[in-house]
């Protein structure tokens, strides 16, 4: 049980022999033109089918299914909650000057308009895992931190443009706020590392999430329009330049490096031979004058499962091959990528970490203009949100 628990941070390793792993690694690390088992290009995603607003009881929902049969459903629910002013904060200016009795000043409003990260709650259910296992906890923290970490920019025209990001959008007034529950359900066994599937589904669900229209004004107790048709999207539909939505929820991409290649959306077999696995969260940068179309929100390394695999044994060290004539090609060579002696064609799990240049390269492939991140966001925009 403990080994299953331990492997959980990087999803389970497929049962591949050292020879198979070595074959996969060699074909994926071919310079400049990796050959993937399913024939995709390095930046191509698996085909998927998506639909939104499938659950009538939620504020927003989405379903995505990959062609290999893995499916995820996300439901977003919102509740109105009373804002409890944090008891251990101290508004120094107010108390020191003795102005204003408790509230009503402009100083205390800054804390409230910001919103709080804990108002977004995320839970992930993956079959075969307990809800306190490492994998679900790690995934939900990873996706939540990029959701609440994105802070929108204040537009010069003063329009409502998601100042404060998702957190800011949840504020109703000084005394009330929305609490958002994002529940992610993986319907199938995790055949590959489920992060891309869960992140894309959450993205679509948040895009389709609506909150009822507020009728009360200012500091009154909140009172909402009961007509669902006039409800407002939590991520408002403001079309910016080049006819794209201005404010988008973040999306987390899974990127692996094999040799010198950078590969996106890896399958279970591909991730098993990866040198480095990164989860990179990006969102659209709607700030004027920025060179890059995307903004980086977070990077996390994920433990590459190759470290748990069984190494292969070269013939020269194999006791069963003692009598056999020594083949000439079976000579250890120095692998330039790892700096270790390796026998070609014999699987040896990668030791050590990643070079900084490799990380920079992976991030650049995501962020650059016309790069993968932009492509993914554009593709998700194509899903009709009704």
């Amino acid at each position: 049980m403990s080994s299953q628990r331990q492997a959980s941070s990087a999803a389970q390793i497929p049962h591949l022999s050292p020879a198979e792993l070595s074959y996969l690694y060699t074909s994926l690390s071919l310079p400049n033109s990796p050959i993937r088992p399913d024939g995709r290009s390095p930046t191509q995603f698996r085909p998927l089918s998506a639909e939104t607003n499938i659950l009538p009881g939620t504020n927003g929902s989405a379903r995505i299914g990959f062609a290999d049969g893995t499916q995820a459903i996300v439901g977003v629910k919102a509740e109105v909650e009373k804002t409890v002013l944090v008891s251990d904060t101290l508004d120094v200016q107010h108390e020191a000057q003795g102005t204003g009795n408790g509230e009503g000043g402009e100083g205390s409003s800054s804390a409230v308009t910001g919103g709080h990260g804990s108002w977004v709650q995320m839970s992930i259910e993956i079959p075969g895992f307990r809800d306190d296992d490492a994998l679900p906890v790690f995934l939900s923290e990873m996706m939540r931190e990029s959701l609440v970490g994105s802070v929108g920019v204040k537009d010069k025209s003063g329009e409502e443009n998601m100042a404060g990001g998702l957190k800011g959008r949840l504020v109703i007034n000084k005394r009330w706020h929305w609490r958002l529950y994002i529940d992610v359900l993986l319907l199938s066994q995790p055949l590959s590392y489920p992060l891309p599937l869960l992140s894309l589904t959450t993205h679509l669900a948040l895009l389709s999430t609506k909150l009822p229209k507020l009728k009360s004004k200012g500091e009154e107790d909140p009172f909402f329009d009961d007509d669902w048709a006039v409800a407002e999207y939590i991520y408002p539909r403001v079309l910016g330049v080049s006819n794209t939505l201005q404010v988008r929820p973040p999306v987390t991409l899974l990127v692996i490096s094999v040799g010198e290649n950078v590969i996106f959306d890896p399958t279970r077999e591909e991730i098993a031979v990866a040198d480095a696995v990164l989860a990179i969260s990006v969102t659209r940068d709607n700030e004027a004058g920025s060179l890059q179309p995307l903004k980086l929100l977070s990077i996390r390394t994920i433990d590459p499962p190759s470290r748990l695999t069984q190494p292969g044994i070269p013939n020269s060290e194999n006791v069963n091959m003692l009598g056999a004539p020594a083949p000439n090609e079976n000579v250890a060579v120095l692998n330039p990528a790892t700096g270790e002696e390796e026998v070609p064609g014999v699987w040896r799990p990668r030791r050590g970490g990643v070079k900084r240049s490799v990380i920079a390269g992976m991030v650049k492939t995501v962020l650059k203009k016309g790069g993968v991140g932009e492509e993914v966001l554009a593709g998700l925009e194509g899903v009709e949100v009704s």
């Binding site: 906890v137 923290e141 700030e287 994920i302 030791r351 990643v354 920079a360």
Partner: protein, 326 residues
Amino acid sequence: MLELPTIQDTMNDRRRINGPAEGTRPPVYASHLKSGGATDRAQRQREPTDLRKIFLKTGLIPSASGSSYLEFAPSSSLANARSNPKSLIPPSSALKLSCTVHGPKPLPRSAAFSPNLVLTTHVKYAPFAARKRKGHIRDASERDLGVHLETALRGAIIAERWPKSGIDLTITILEAEDDRWWADAPDLHDASWGMMNVLAGCITAASAAIADAHIDCLDLVSGGVAALVSDDSTEDSAAAPRLMLDADPAEHRSIMAACVVAYMPARDEITELWLKGESSKIALEKGDQRSAHEALIDGAVDAARGAHSVLSEAVRETMLRAVTPL
């Protein structure tokens, strides 16, 4: 799941006078506020590239096969407040943690075969570690820290030398870092920044404890933090944030982004990287063309190099103790 007593249960208890369910804070008197003292914001006295001093010692827990204890030097304002107390509330906190390694030991019979060493990491805050009390059951952030730590160490340990065995690594955090200055309300960029400093300390301490347990590693892996900080929250909000190494969140008004790395200097490799926050703008010297996230990673690596010098000295002391028994 464990059933926790609900508030309802404690409400019905009328025979005792119970304390408030939430924590309380020590009183702050108006006279204090006028004279300053208690409410003086902690200020960073170090240079942007200066690190806090680290105390690291191994072999303190005899029953474990390897152990270490790590402490960050208190900031100058905390040191002042301790020597000359004006208030009950400490202005900032300094990290203190202990780490134990048990093993390598055979895996239990029920476990599946593993050709490699199986590493299990537990990170737990002591209930009194932070300003707000932590429960006895590990919460999501503690489990998250455990996964980060496991990733950082798994890359450094040469795991195939111990087939069918496992080690358990347990870290108890005795005093944690604050996420912000204690009297500040959470602002726009609020996040659990203190956790990142804690993780860096965990990595360095765990590395020392693993060396103390004589487990083969590629290199001593050390942790480092760098942060993008904007201190002038007043009118000049357009100013780009600056890079600070080993930033104590209590000493800064607003942290925009932070990055932790676990770094092996001998191979120039990163085994764990955790970056979060808005890293789009940064104020660098003229001619520096790096983007903000690259500068953050480089800064964290520099901090890790600094921690590595302390780490290697601590491991050297360990070896000296082993060869010259008292």
